[in-house]
């Protein structure tokens, strides 16, 4: 009756080895020596890029230094603001080459601390391309080495100077034409409309009369900020007042408390940005300070003091609610673990466990079994948590459920569940020779193995209450993260330990008997259903071809199991049946490899079937969501994945229903679906920003209100209530 199977223990070992190899690869990659065209510091990678693979004598071309910054780290614009330092590029070029100045893209305001103690810097987060025009001499022969010494200051709440010496040979094999042209197109333009400045004791006023083109961008933009090119003129950390008039704009800028140099003009960038400060469009203004009256701008339409958010470049407004403490997280994890037992992916495996208790009856044997089973669960959770924490430390943007984002793992799980189901259905027995399960006393090793299996099976089901606890775990120290995962395991194992400890309870279980064989056979069907679901997940990940190969592999695996089963029951020609079973197993493995080869081929976005299957749901992109939120539109985001069962339940039972879709439509809510079936750093970042590390997550962004996080298990009532809070 017990399910001790060297084969699946082996599968899990393989899985763990795979994860460890992946971890090592990540570590090796981050620790490896950079190529000459790129160099890195702790939080910034600098790469030298050229517009084309070769240069023409006498013809200017654009080179770029790309700075890729770790999340929440920033580097600075030419005027860094209250503190910081502009990035510098020192060129070493062959004889006769000329390098122009850095062409700076529009920066964003980076606020440190909270008002009134706020300092504001001007710079970049994420990635920036600093462009330079390079002109080879007419005598240029076509081959040359461009060298750039790049120095920057990278800051989060602390600042670290960084530097890299980069080299790029011309001609070179790879050009970054598209990226550089996009960066060129986004460079600040010259302000084509009218601009006039005027200063009083405390403030400088900038009146802007945009031309038609500028007006079209400025009109809908959530923010219009002025970034002074000259230092010591404008107080960087003072909120800028924006007044929109019928014919133009007025910015009120606080004068520097300690002015430096003569203040004769307002020279700087006018940047139209999203509510989160992401630049959309920019233009260079040079407005002399004049004593005469500012030009008439017509009737006042609106007036806002444009304050800065707190913290560094928070991409989305923060979600309300107090952060969890360690004890609350431990409590929630314990509860979440308990509930995990009822999830459809765990239930069949655990029913078997309960059966085995019924078999053991009670006493010391049952107790030690219960404890070993619990140890299997807790240690597996700790192992998963360890890999997760290590991968995150290595820089991977992943969260809970990451193990299911790999098609290879999905295929392996499908095979595992399929073989288990065949075993339960009675096609074959795992025990070599011994057929009567009831005659074989269960070993402790099998109890441990069952614990491991339960965790493997449970990973697709992020139960309610687990989201918040795991989200908390991910952001804490390793010790605390492990404690939360251990609590999850303890919660999951608790019922069985209690069952083993109190024989009175176990006695209430039905007596062992012939019915158990039939029940065992029946339990094969939930497992088959699980296999169907896993094949569907693989199909979403890699397409119908990969799924077909997997099904073929499962079919041949079935032949192997059948042949093996015959060899176990028939007295004659045992060896022939075993040989055919081995051959079939070989073929199944080979087909499995094929399926995996397909699954590891690059996939297009088109495969995200669950994201595109509905007309009213758009695929999530951070930029689009930010834009919508910035323009004051309500947005509902469904963070989901094909391998997440509770996500699918919510989708079918609540979100996908006509009534709910109509309710969303009535409130003009834009519906976005963030499909995390495969790894996606953008979605991982968004989840992290919401304090979560796994799906499902449902969030409603409301204009002029804090965003609303909905529970992991939705009902129509919950969604409708959330919609009622919209103004």
């Amino acid at each position: 009756m017990e399910l001790v199977q060297p084969s699946w223990v082996y599968s899990i070992m393989k899985l763990i080895v795979k994860l460890v190899v992946a971890l090592l690869l990540v570590l090796a990659h981050t620790g490896s020596f950079a190529l000459s065209a790129s160099g890195k510091s702790d939080h910034v990678t600098a790469t030298l890029l050229a517009e084309s693979t070769q240069a023409t004598p006498g013809m200017a071309f654009t080179a770029a230094v790309r700075l890729s910054m770790a999340p929440h780290w920033h580097t600075y614009w030419q005027n860094p603001g209250d503190s910081g330092l502009a990035t510098t590029i020192g060129w070493t070029l062959p004889e006769g080459f000329k390098a122009g100045p850095i062409q700076w893209p529009a920066p964003r305001r980076l606020a440190l601390g909270t008002p009134p103690n706020q300092l504001v810097n001007f710079g970049y987060e994420g990635e920036v391309l600093l462009l330079t025009e390079i002109t080879p001499p007419a005598s240029f022969t076509g081959a040359a080495m461009l060298q750039a010494k790049v120095e920057w200051l990278e800051c989060k709440d602390v600042c670290i100077p960084g530097a890299a010496s980069l080299g790029l040979a011309l001609p070179n094999a790879s050009a970054a034409a598209a990226a550089i042209q996009a960066a060129k197109a986004a460079l600040p333009q010259a302000w084509a409309g009218g601009a006039q400045g005027k200063a009083d004791e405390a403030n400088a006023l900038l009146a802007l009369l945009p031309d038609a083109k500028a007006a079209a961008v400025i009109g809908p933009a959530a923010r219009i900020d002025f970034f002074p090119l000259e230092e010591g003129k404008i107080e960087s950390n003072a909120p800028q007042k924006l007044e929109r008039f019928e014919q133009g704009l007025m910015l009120t800028l606080a004068r520097a408390k300690q002015p430096v140099g003569e203040f004769t003009r307002l020279q700087g960038l006018v940047v139209a940005a999203t509510a989160q400060g992401q630049p959309i469009w920019s233009a260079l203004v040079n407005a002399p300070l004049q004593t005469q009256a500012l030009p008439p701008l017509g009737k006042l339409v609106s007036s806002t003091v444009q304050r800065d958010g707190t913290g560094l470049g928070a991409a989305m407004p923060p979600v309300g609610g107090a952060p969890l403490g360690l004890f609350a997280a431990l409590g929630l994890a314990l509860l979440g673990g308990l509930i995990l037992n009822l999830m459809p992916c765990v239930f069949p495996v655990l029913s078997l466990k309960v059966l085995s208790f019924a078999q053991l009856g009670g006493g010391a044997r049952a107790r030690s079994h219960g404890l070993v089973f619990a140890a299997g669960i807790v240690l597996s959770f700790l192992a998963l948590a360890g890999v997760l924490v290590a991968l995150r430390a290595g820089g991977s943007e992943i969260g809970w459920g990451f193990q299911l984002q790999s098609p290879a793992v999905i295929a392996a799980l499908a095979a595992l569940f399929f073989v288990l189901a065949l075993n339960l259905a009675g096609v074959f027995e795992f025990a070599f020779g011994a057929v009567d399960a009831n005659a074989q006393p269960a070993s402790l090793r099998s109890a441990f193995g069952n614990g491991v299996l339960a965790v493997v099976a449970a990973s697709p089901c992020t139960a309610p209450f687990m989201g918040a606890a795991l989200g908390y775990a991910i952001t804490q120290s390793i010790g605390e993260a492990l404690a939360v995962f251990a609590a999850l395991g303890v919660g999951m194992a608790l019922p069985y330990v209690l069952l083993a400890w109190f024989p009175g309870w176990a006695a209430r279980l039905p007596r062992p008997g012939a019915w158990m064989v039939r029940f065992k056979q029946f339990l094969a069907f939930p497992l088959f259903a699980t296999v169907v679901w896993l094949v569907w997940v693989l199909g979403v990940q890699v397409g119908v071809d990969g799924a077909a190969w997997l099904l073929l592999a499962l079919t041949v695996l079935g032949i192997a199991a059948w042949a093996w089963g015959i060899s176990q029951t028939s007295a004659l020609k045992k060896s022939a049946w075993r040989a055919s079973s081995a051959i079939a197993l070989g073929v199944a493995l080979w087909l499995g490899f094929l399926a995996q080869a397909i699954s590891e081929a690059p996939v297009g976005a088109a495969l995200g079937a669950s994201a595109t299957e509905s007309a009213v749901w758009q695929a999530y992109t951070a930029t689009r969501a930010e834009e919508l939120v910035a323009t004051g539109k309500p947005v509902f985001i469904d963070f989901t994945a094909a391998w997440c069962v509770s996500c699918q339940v919510n989708k079918k039972a609540v979100l996908g229903t006509r009534a709910i879709e109509a309710a969303f439509a009535a409130k003009n809510v834009t519906l976005m679906r963030a499909d995390w079936t495969r790894r996606d750093p953008e979605i991982a970042r968004a989840l992290h920003a919401l304090g979560r590390s796994g799906v499902p997550v449902y969030v409603l962004y409301r204009p002029n209100q804090a965003p609303l996080l909905l529970p992991e298990l939705l009902t129509s009532g919950i969604v409708l209530d959330a919609l009622k809070t919209l103004n």
């Binding site: 503190s83 330092l85 300092l119 120095e151 800051c155 709440d157 600042c159 100077p161 300690q258 002015p259």
Partner: protein
């Protein structure tokens, strides 16, 4: 609750409302030194006073200490009867924060010679002076007027090598004001790390 209390306090403390500007009188303040002794700006009326915003965790501060630039300036000033006050406005919750004893031992180990190293843990004096970076330098003349506010020099880098070739604004301003002359470059943009309020 502490946040609210701080906010209410901020309404009454004229932190950012009065600008400290060259040519105006430097606001008085009282702080406790790392040696436990109190120090008050008005105690030094009649003398030149240099205020140096310092944070040993900041690479720009280290640039001027590792190159012995700051210590040389401090000793020079002491020889000319100038009072040098180093102020640390780092918030105790920040990783850069040093306890008074640690701050004192860092200062003595680096061979610094300020008259006093003052602890401004709540950042009140830093905000009173609108100090934004470490280092940021102020010079107060014997009448209590601010005569210099800004950077230590004109080479904005964290490289100690640059000290040799840079124009030291504080040295120049001190020489001028000690000679009874007006300071030529009285205001510059400070550079460095943000003050960790």
């Amino acid at each position: 609750m502490p946040k609210l209390a701080f906010f209410v306090a901020a309404l009454f403390v004229p932190a950012f409302s009065f600008a400290v500007t060259v040519g105006q009188s430097a606001p008085d303040f009282a702080l406790i030194g790392t040696d436990g002794k109190p120090a008050k700006l008005s105690d030094f009326k009649g003398k030149h006073v240099v205020l140096e915003w310092v944070n040993p965790g900041c690479p720009y501060v280290r640039k001027h200490y590792d190159s012995n630039n700051m210590q040389a300036l401090q000793k020079d000033a002491a020889g000319k009867e100038v009072v040098w006050l180093a102020v640390n406005s780092t918030n105790p919750t920040h990783a850069d924060f040093l306890k008074p004893a640690d701050m004192a031992s860092w200062m003595s180990k680096s061979g610094g010679a300020p008259k006093a190293t003052l602890m401004d843990q709540d950042g009140k004096v830093g905000k009173l002076y609108s100090a934004k970076t470490t280092p940021q330098m102020y010079i107060v003349d014997p009448k209590g007027q601010l005569v210099y506010n800004g950077a230590i020099d004109d080479k904005r880098s964290a490289n100690p090598e640059d000290v040799k070739t840079s124009k030291n604004f504080v040295r120049l301003a001190l020489a001028e004001t000690l000679a009874g002359k007006a300071v030529t470059t009285a205001a510059t943009t400070p550079y460095g790390c943000s003050v960790k309020y």
